[in-house]
């Protein structure tokens, strides 16, 4: 099992750096010693899921591993998540313990702060690795159309299947001992790829904090310092790096593989990367949270760059069985339909709420529209209103529900505003108000309930919602209202 592989790496690589972020450093030896001490504490101190709160402190990684060893599920929660949403996550998971690696406002459950964590580590206890593979490894949350985020439990067996698959991708398996660059927050399940590739293959995980990603000059310093061999990020992050010609071999001489997931990869972005980095292997991956991070990947070749869209995975070497269906009927190659995943990476279902997309044992209907051509998977959109923004899946209805709860708002419609290559540039909300309230007040109230990426950048107030002939909200009219506002 992968936890045994991590243990053997920790004992074998002992003094090697397992994790780096800013000035903080953790060796493999320290990781195992701290994780087992914390696991022993978790095992004796109750049961049920554990919320792990913070950003990129080494204590986050220690806590994840400790939970896995002890047999308790971890619920990663980034500092960017507002307290009200954390409380909903706690209610949904029924967690009774929160490990606060950074100061945390949340109450109503037992909180272990960083001072207490130090004491627990110092106890130097051992803890056997829990055996049951069916237990939940972690729970991450994805947007829910009813207004409540949906908890997705991923079992140890799901995670095992993902890790076996991802570390078996030839480009990843061929990497010599090196450095994995982490971009994603730990509450974003893209980070599952960088954490476990790094620990299972015995690399060093170089984590990049949010504030280091907001200033390009600082980010480039960090990239240079990292000496990364494998970069795992969203296509948007890669685009940001590529805005500057300095993002090149001179900055990252050892970079061998870039693993992208979470969003559509535009052809232009792939072309730019391959042009800047000779000999680089670019992996474009696809997969929903419900099927453990990613289920398919494909190495982008020069020949693929002349086509209008890039493939998102190779069917034959996927982590699960991938098919494209229309209703219940499986479609032939080349036909567009809903992408369905079946196999050991698929979660058993949401913590609560609709089980609809989980169609029977280990089967998940993604809601993504796609097609299979020449053995490659192509994504072409959604069957519903769900959108991908900054790598996150968002149900506009969840945001609309939150806006409508605000005193003074009668109703609201949230729309994605697209820029080049149909990429979503921002979210805009159109609202009808019943009293004087400003856009800033609405945003402030939303920020108390929603993570930053779900707060619309623009709030426009309308006297009346435009209706189409069927009496439904006319979204095209709203987009026109938005662009007329944009053009002056």
């Amino acid at each position: 099992m992968f936890i045994d592989s991590i243990k053997s790496n920790c004992l074998k690589l002992n003094g090697k750096t397992a994790y780096l972020c800013g000035q903080s450093r953790l060796t493999y030896g320290e990781l195992w010693q701290k994780a087992t001490s914390l696991a022993a504490f978790l095992k004796t101190g109750g049961s049920g899921p554990v919320v792990v709160y913070g950003h990129k402190s080494p204590d986050m990684l220690v806590s994840f591993l400790a939970c896995l060893i002890s047999g308790r599920a971890y619920v990663p929660c980034d500092v960017a998540v507002p307290a009200a949403r954390i409380e909903r996550m706690i209610a949904a998971t029924k967690a009774q313990l929160l490990l606060a690696t950074e100061p945390c406002e949340v109450k109503n459950l037992a909180v272990v702060g960083s001072g207490q964590l130090r004491q627990i580590y110092a106890a130097k206890k051992d803890c056997p690795i829990a055996k049951d593979g069916g237990r939940t490894a972690y729970v991450t949350f994805t947007s829910g159309s009813t207004g409540t985020p949906k908890g997705v439990p991923i079992s140890v067996d799901n995670l095992e299947n993902f890790i076996q698959w991802v570390t078996g991708i030839p480009a990843v398996a061929a990497l010599p001992a090196g450095v994995v660059f982490n971009q994603a927050a730990f509450s974003f399940d893209l980070s599952v790829a960088d954490i476990y590739i790094s620990l299972v293959l015995g690399h060093t995980l170089f984590a990049c904090a949010q504030h280091e990603q907001q200033d390009l000059a600082l980010l480039f310093q960090r990239l240079k310092l990292s000496g990364s061999t494998l970069l795992i990020c969203t296509p948007t992050f890669l685009q940001l790096c590529l805005t500057d010609a300095a993002f090149s071999r001179a900055l990252l001489p050892n970079l061998q593989v870039v693993f992208l997931c979470g969003e559509v990869l535009p052809v232009k972005t792939a072309k730019k990367l391959l042009g800047r980095f000779s000999g680089i292997k670019l992996l474009n991956a696809y997969g929903p949270t419900e099927a453990t991070c990613a289920v398919a990947a494909v190495q982008i070749t020069e020949a693929m760059l002349s086509r209008p869209a890039l493939p998102a995975g190779e069917i034959r070497h996927a982590a699960v069985r991938i098919s494209v269906v229309d209703g219940e009927a499986e479609l032939p190659a080349g036909a567009c339909g809903e992408i369905v995943l079946q196999g050991d990476s698929v979660s058993d279902g949401y913590l609560s709420g609709p089980s609809r997309p989980f169609a029977g044992h280990k089967t998940y209907r993604t809601g993504d529209i796609g097609k299979i051509e020449n053995g490659y998977l192509y994504c072409c959109g959604r069957i519903d209103e769900q959108i991908k923004y900054k790598g996150y899946r968002i149900e506009p209805m969840e945001i609309e529900a939150c806006i409508s709860e605000i005193n003074g708002i009668a109703c609201a419609v949230v729309l994605p505003i697209e820029g080049r290559d149909n990429k979503i540039l921002m979210l805009a909300a159109f609202a009808q108000k019943t009293r004087e309230i400003t856009a800033e007040e609405v945003k402030t109230q939303l920020a108390q309930k929603l993570p930053p990426y779900m707060v619309p950048k623009v709030i426009l107030f309308l006297d009346q919602m435009p209706m189409n002939a069927n009496g439904k909200c006319d979204k095209n009219a709203l987009k026109e209202i938005f662009s007329s506002g944009r053009n002056g």
């Binding site: 390009l216 948007t236 805005t243 500057d244 300095a246 979503i424 921002m426 944009r486 053009n487």
Partner: protein
């Protein structure tokens, strides 16, 4: 160039882009998505700003961005 930059900013940042006195970075008006889009639009017009080569504060204001665009346009036209 001034009108071009303003037109691009309105499109990529939304209606708040040209409000006087706005710090585009602090307020998140020029977030990473808008930033990528702004540079791509300017690149299409032959203006290739290298963000790590300039003072980040230049991106805080509309006038700062206009000045940058002019500077890069001039260096291109001057054949430097």
């Amino acid at each position: 160039m001034e009108e071009t930059v303003k037109e691009i900013l309105l499109r990529v940042c939304g209606p708040g882009a040209l409000a006087p006195g706005t710090d585009l970075i602090e307020t998140g008006v020029l977030d990473s998505l808008a930033f990528i889009e702004l540079l791509a639009e300017l690149e299409d017009r032959g203006v290739e700003i290298q963000p790590t080569q300039v003072d980040r504060n230049q991106f805080r204001t509309v006038n700062g961005i206009i000045a940058l665009a002019r500077q890069y346009q001039a260096s291109r036209d001057g054949g430097v």
